[in-house]
């Protein structure tokens, strides 16, 4: 028995210790500045953003706010396989902790800043289903004073229809097309500022310290972990698998447990949903977005747009590639994958072990033999990343 316990793996190699330290929250760099949003760190903008985030008047139906899907007491996600606004979408709601560290937003990175991301659901017909003219009027009617204190004078909206935008109904699109370019620009600017205020608020949503982080801190400092920093032998074995044989930390890397890149892992499509090519479509969408880093509504020059400028555009690896979500909190955040395809952690681990072929493009996974015990160890470790 003694011999077996001794082999249980409570000691780590220097390489393992270095990887564990790199995954811990203490390795998280300071909140990166967002030069595209000059209000990113303005408390008044963040306060207005928080108000808007939870206000269901941010939809013409009066029923959908950002917090409809991003629930504050549920890691800012909704536990559903597919997000539900005024209708059901085709992707799973992403949690928000640490979102301000992400260079690419959404599962497919189709937006390149937090404020540009915040605008997208507002005009999605399945989510808030509003138009930018509607939002400009809403701000002018309900928040004019707060808005103007932050962003300066609102434009004269008397000639702007109540509902008009490039993605709305046919009538709304026609109303938008009928507006002169200067009116469109003024509405776009108010709309962009709404996104900048919401983004300023979302920058305050940061990852929480977990038992794993306390364990990693003790390990790095070379001291015995305290009670609330202890990992069981099973969890430690899972951690060793995570950074070793199971190669999870290839993509789930760094303190947010994501490499901010895009990978095809052969997750099967969902019957009945439109074809979802992930990053392959995302690169075109972010390049075409008028609110991207190169656009006139970004508060920076092109020197801040390295990610967009040097993004991988034409590559077979982009087909059905999706961003690895952070694994912080994931154990209590079923279902998994970009359209909630997989219900349990057991089934997730089984997917990675089997490494099924992708329906198109090529999976980056390789089949892996994991015993039942090893699967349980991996899951036990994942739970140490969840409070």
């Amino acid at each position: 028995m003694l011999v077996l316990t001794g082999c249980g793996g409570e000691s780590f190699t220097d390489d393992e210790k270095a990887i564990i330290a790199s995954l811990s929250l203490s390795a998280l760099p300071p909140l990166p500045p967002d030069p595209t949003n000059r209000y990113a760190d303005d408390p008044a903008a963040a306060a207005l953003g928080a108000t808007l985030f939870f206000d269901s008047r941010m939809s013409p139906s009066g029923t959908v706010s950002c917090s409809t899907c991003h629930l504050i007491d549920r890691q800012f996600q909704d536990d559903l396989p597919l997000a539900k606004g005024v209708a059901t979408g085709n992707r799973r709601t992403m949690p928000l902790a640490g979102v301000a560290w992400s260079p690419w937003l959404f599962w497919d990175g189709r937006r390149d800043s937090l404020w540009a991301q915040a605008l997208t659901p507002l005009e999605d017909l399945r989510e808030h289903a509003g138009t930018r003219a509607f939002y400009a009027h809403f701000i002018a009617d309900s928040f004019a004073e707060r808005y103007e204190r932050i962003f300066g004078a609102l434009p004269d909206l008397s000639g702007v229809p109540g509902h008009a935008g490039p993605f709305g109904t046919a009538a709304e699109q026609a109303a938008w097309a009928g507006l002169p370019a200067e009116r469109q620009d003024e509405v776009n600017r108010v709309f962009a500022n709404i996104g900048k205020a919401i983004a300023a608020f979302e920058r305050s949503i940061v990852p929480e310290e977990t038992r794993f982080d306390r364990f990693a801190a003790a390990l790095t400092a070379g001291r015995e972990p305290d009670d609330d920093a202890t990992l069981t032998p099973e969890e430690i074995a899972g951690l060793k698998l995570f950074i070793g044989k199971a190669t999870c930390s290839t993509c789930h890397t760094g303190p947010r447990l994501t490499d901010d890149s895009f990978h095809n892992t052969g997750v099967p499509p969902v019957d009945g949903l439109p074809e979802d090519l992930g990053r392959e479509t995302g690169v075109d969408q972010v390049a075409a977005d008028p609110f991207n880093c190169f656009g006139k509504y970004a508060d920076s020059g092109p020197e801040a747009c390295g990610e967009l400028r040097f993004m991988v555009k034409d590559d077979p690896r982009l087909t059905r590639a999706f961003k690895p979500p952070s694994l912080r909190g994931a154990a209590s955040r079923s279902p998994y994958m970009h359209s909630g395809q997989i219900e349990t952690l057991e089934a997730v681990v089984d997917h990675y072990a089997r490494a099924p072929a992708s329906v198109s493009g090529e999976t980056e996974l390789h089949p892996l033999t994991l015993s039942e015990r090893e699967r349980q160890q991996l899951i036990a470790f994942l739970k140490t990343l969840t409070n």
């Binding site: 270095a18 990887i19 991988v312 690896r317």
Partner: protein, 145 residues
């Protein structure tokens, strides 16, 4: 007495099993030493190439630039090279997370490559395809983060 003997036999057997398990354990494989030199000759020997980070030290997950210096085998700067950049992580079967490019010819055989990012720690390859009137050739650098 008899039970003590049995315990002793059991203990010996257990130790023997443990010893065999110890022997059967594959030896810790030492990775072959990577050549991480930042000065290398291209595959066909046409160019001597050196690379250096442009400014601050390279940090995981951050976009950064490199300065690439190209000389002929005889040591003459090649100031009219066309260079493309590629790379990836050979151990993980994936390429670079970004598409870096030469953005500036600095003269004297020196070029700035922008848009490099290493999204995780480990062994990365940075490959350069170099063309000039002297011919086309390739070179691979190993970087360990």
């Amino acid at each position: 007495m008899r039970s003590v003997a049995l315990y002793a036999i059991a203990l010996v057997a257990l130790l023997a099993v443990a010893f065999v398990a110890y022997l059967a354990k594959p030896p810790v494989t030492q990775k072959p030493e990577l050549n991480t030199s930042r000065e290398r000759t291209t595959d066909k020997g046409l160019y001597a190439v050196s690379i250096a980070p442009d400014g601050a030290e390279v940090k995981q997950g951050e976009l950064h630039s490199w300065i690439v210096s190209v000389k002929t085998a005889e040591g003459k700067p090649v100031s009219d090279a066309v260079i493309t950049v590629d790379g990836g992580m050979p151990e993980h079967n994936h390429g670079l997370p970004t598409a870096p490019e030469v953005t500036e010819n600095l003269g004297d055989g020196r070029y700035r490559v922008e848009g490099v990012k290493f999204s995780m720690s480990g062994w990365w390859e940075l490959r350069f395809d170099i063309s000039s009137p002297a011919g086309q050739d390739k070179v691979t650098f190993n970087l360990v983060l």
